[in-house]
């Protein structure tokens, strides 16, 4: 059972009602939350409930041990992190590492076959294991005390709105929300409702349509499609990957919000980013901040000179790539992101050295100018015009705007093309895909007119997402609640009517 289904709405209505009904009895309420989360998970696959409970127990005890012992604290921390990582690696990466290890051994003349298992990836494993690791690491660094309540910790690990696909909340934020029966009323009710509707629209209308009608087919065999269709598929995937995942996050935040829980933000209009660094501050925020806090900073971050910093950046981006799955395409994609970040930082660091006192960095201006018209002549021309237009301004308006626009264009292009390596199953297919983008010799191919229409709607949503949410919130606020009920139900009917009969699984369920 997943969010964008009517049976989930039925399930949620019952949980919502009982959640608030049990609030006067905090213990019953918390038990109820845990049981509904376990039931939700078991509906998907009851076999892995035991794994979820085991991960919970191990980490609950792990945190208590780490807190209690006075010696070998670090040893215990590593031990419990290793247990978590082993669990994750076994289910997620076993076959990838098995084939890799066998190939390496073969090079040394050793022919060994590792045991073969029929492995199923338990849904949400990457997300709840990461939640658990963040908890024991925070206990180790004394950011939070180890909780004495197994019940509270179990709810934190398995809370059903965030169970399958995040956001990866932190115990420091989540556990206090369980104290004294939690919230008494619903904060941001209209925003939460809006997020649910918008998330549904992103997933079941736009993303599902584009996945079924263009992206999956074209990315599988790009050489069988005309350049125009390959371009449309690329633009579609740019939207699909964002709408699919952010749509899920929106719904998760919305449903949790209606139960009285505040969730961390996972996407902050990432496609409006004007640099790669900016993009990674806005995309899948809970994962990138997790990697930053628990990998990048412990590795030394930017405290040990520039080379270590660049190395760390590359490592964390490859890890982010690998987090998505045991496949070379994700590693390559992570590597590309790492190189992008290193280049951005390198430029930034050189600028800092060259122009230590400048607030606005020279190279960025040249880059900005370069893309506007390529070359310093145009840059100077622009500069002169700016001087005329803004004679008294020290920081010039046009330069800032153009700098941002050129930054956005560069970031857009970088992210757009890097998705090719993410989506294509192998790097060979990715290269074929890039070639197919410019192979104009293939015969014209028909495509459904709704594809470009949805792309246009999608980009509109990408640019004006916050404004659209605000407008929708304002409309709802003014409604008396009987009308609000009918209004929301009608909106949902419209969204479902526009949806496809078949809903492709959420992309991030595989990660």
């Amino acid at each position: 059972m997943i969010f964008p289904t009517i049976e989930f709405f039925l399930f949620f209505t019952i949980v919502l009602t009982l959640n608030w009904a049990f609030k006067p009895w905090p213990l019953i309420w918390r038990f109820f939350l845990l049981l509904s989360s376990y039931y939700f998970y078991a509906l998907w696959d009851e076999r892995f409930l035991l794994l979820l409970i085991s991960v919970t127990l191990v980490n609950f005890l792990g945190a208590l041990v780490i807190e209690k012992v006075n010696y070998f604290k670090k040893f215990y921390l590593f031990l419990f992190i290793l247990i978590n990582l082993f669990c994750l690696s076994f289910f997620k990466y076993y076959d990838f590492f098995r084939t890799g290890a066998e190939s390496v051994l073969e090079k040394f003349g050793i022919f060994y076959t590792f045991p073969l298992f029929d492995i199923i990836l338990p849904l949400g494993l990457s997300f709840y294991v990461f939640r658990a690791i963040s908890y024991i690491a925070d206990v180790y660094s004394k950011k939070i005390p180890a909780t004495k309540s197994l019940l509270d910790f179990s709810i934190y690990v398995s809370f059903f709105p965030q169970l399958f696909s995040g956001p990866i909340s932190r115990a420091i934020d989540f556990l206090p929300q369980l104290k004294n029966g939690g919230a008494k009323k619903i904060d941001d009710f209209h925003k939460n409702l809006t997020l649910i509707i918008l998330g549904l629209f992103k997933k079941i209308v736009i993303s599902s349509y584009l996945i079924l009608n263009i992206t999956d087919d074209v990315f599988a065999v790009p050489e069988n499609h005309s350049a125009l269709v390959v371009w449309l598929a690329l633009l579609s995937y740019y939207l699909v990957i964002y709408f699919d995942f952010s749509g899920y996050s929106d719904m998760a935040i919305g449903f949790a919000g209606l139960l009285g829980f505040e969730s961390p933000i996972n996407f902050n209009t990432p496609y409006l980013a004007t640099s790669i660094k900016d993009f990674w501050r806005r995309w899948h925020i809970t994962l990138s901040s997790w990697i930053k806090d628990y990998v990048y900073i412990p590795l030394g971050g930017n405290r040990h000179g520039l080379i270590v910093k660049y190395l760390n950046l590359t490592i964390i981006m490859i890890l982010i790539g690998l987090w998505h799955g045991a496949s070379m395409n994700y590693i390559i994609w992570g590597g590309i992101q790492g190189i992008g970040l290193v280049i951005f930082n390198l430029r930034h660091d050189i600028e800092k050295k060259l122009f230590p006192n400048k607030k606005e960095h020279g190279i960025r201006d040249i880059f900005g100018g370069g893309i506007q018209g390529i070359g310093l002549v145009i840059f100077n021309l622009r500069h002169d015009i700016e001087k005329k237009l803004f004679p008294n301004k020290k920081e010039h308006g046009i330069r800032d705007i153009f700098g941002k626009i050129s930054g956005w264009i560069f970031t857009f292009a970088f992210i757009l093309f890097s998705w090719v390596f993410f989506k294509a199953r192998t790097s060979e297919i990715a290269i074929t895909y890039l070639k197919s983008l410019f192979d104009f010799n293939r015969p014209i191919e028909s495509f459904q007119l709704l594809i470009p229409i949805y792309i246009i709607i999608g980009f509109f949503l990408v640019f004006f997402e916050k404004q659209i949410i605000n407008i929708m919130v304002r409309i709802k606020e003014k409604m008396p609640w009987p009308i609000l009920g009918i209004y929301i139900a009608t909106l949902l009917v419209l969204v479902f009517k526009l949806s496809q009969d078949i809903m492709p699984p959420f992309i991030y369920f595989d990660f």
Partner: protein
């Protein structure tokens, strides 16, 4: 611009009211679709069953109050919106479909594709592909033998000549993620004078025509692509109730008459291809992990094989043994030509990993080469 956060502290009763409205209004308005979708749902639980019951109840209210006509029209309106027109330069006219007792057949086709056949003076020698993986070779040999037996009566066979416009159709096996569709498409593209179009839809099959009617779909695809060869696979979603073409009643899988009724569906689908002179290759289902399910699929395979063998321009390609282990049991891994174990099945025990998809694609092509001139580019 920040999203406005108004700490309005709404009483929970409002949210509960809104959600009760949703679960009353939404399934009522979408009752027809939900009742169909819930029947397709593989994991039935109390919630899916409740929605199904409520949807069916809504349907009965609609028909009692005479609202069903309005809702039918309304649904058609949305289907039209979603059935996006093609941005195409040469879209052919649609062939009118005559519906007869739940089985759709077509009258004379307006556009028929012809396959160049007996006009060639000398039939070319079959090109034997040397580079097939050794692991498939025994299977290929077995297939060759069985095929040769069938061809003995037909020694003077004239191979069909290119160009070939191949249409791949099927359920999730042919959709992305099923593991066969795209490896097959890619492999076929490596041959001379071959163009390929593929249409795979998950959860589809020949039993539930309300969910996706493959006869209508095939007609539309034939109109659009004018193929002369088709490769199809069905069955993984077909172990369900089927509406009898005679009585209109549902016959459940395993009940008497089910096989006969299903064979009619298979035949009506093959009819469409035959009337359009399309050479058909029907790919049999591979062995499955779940034993009961596997037996069902085996039964379906025997229906396909029997029905296809009655036709002159259709060929059945078994895949059962290709993915089974040496004892004929289900296998998750298979050793490749270098002796390394490769994952061949997905964790659902039904679909294929790409390695297996390429393996089966190679076998399909070898079968096609028995009657078609397929040469590598």
């Amino acid at each position: 611009m920040e999203i406005i956060n108004i700490k309005n502290e709404t009483p929970p009763i409002v949210a509960i009211f809104v959600f009760i409205m949703i679960i009353i209004i939404l399934p009522f308005c979408e009752s027809k679709r939900f009742s169909l979708l819930q029947k397709q749902e593989p994991n039935q639980n109390i919630f899916t069953e409740t929605i199904l019951k409520y949807s069916l109840f809504s349907e009965s209210i609609k028909s009692k109050t005479g609202l069903n006509e309005y809702f039918e029209k309304e649904q058609e309106f949305w289907v039209k919106i979603k059935e996006s027109p093609l941005a195409s330069k040469g879209k052919t006219e649609e062939i009118p479909i005559v519906i007869e007792e739940n089985i759709k057949t077509i009258p004379e086709e307006k556009e028929e594709t012809t396959i160049p056949s007996g006009e060639k003076e000398e039939p070319k020698e079959e090109t034997v592909q040397e580079e097939y993986l050794p692991i498939v070779q025994p299977i290929i040999n077995a297939i060759n033998e069985s095929l040769e037996e069938g061809l003995n009566n037909n020694d003077h066979i004239v191979k069909k000549e290119p160009p070939f416009k191949i249409l791949i159709m099927g359920d999730s096996f042919m959709a992305i993620g099923g593991g066969l569709g795209d490896p097959l498409e890619r492999t076929l593209l490596g041959y001379k004078d071959v163009s390929v179009n593929r249409y795979g839809r998950v959860s589809s099959g020949l039993t539930n025509q309300n969910y996706l009617n493959w006869n209508t779909t095939a007609i539309n695809l034939i109109n659009q692509y004018t193929p002369n060869v088709a490769i199809v696979i069905f069955g993984a979603n077909d172990d369900k109730g089927i509406v009898s073409s005679e009585t209109g009643k549902t016959i459940w899988y395993g009940s008497p008459g089910w096989n006969e009724e299903y064979a009619k569906r298979v035949n009506s689908f093959i009819d469409i291809l035959e009337k359009n002179n399309i050479t058909l290759f029907w790919v049999g289902l591979p062995i499955m992990k779940d034993k009961t399910f596997s037996e069902k699929m085996n039964n379906l395979n025997s229906i396909y094989e029997a029905e296809v063998s009655k036709r002159s321009n259709a060929y059945y390609i078994p895949t059962w043994d290709i993915l089974a282990d040496e004892n004929g049991n289900y296998a998750t891994y298979m050793k490749d030509s270098t002796g390394k174990s490769k994952l061949i099945r997905t964790s659902d025990g039904v679909h294929l990993q790409y390695y297996a998809g390429y393996l089966i694609s190679d076998v399909i092509i070898l079968e096609m080469q028995k009657i078609m001139i397929l040469e590598k580019e």
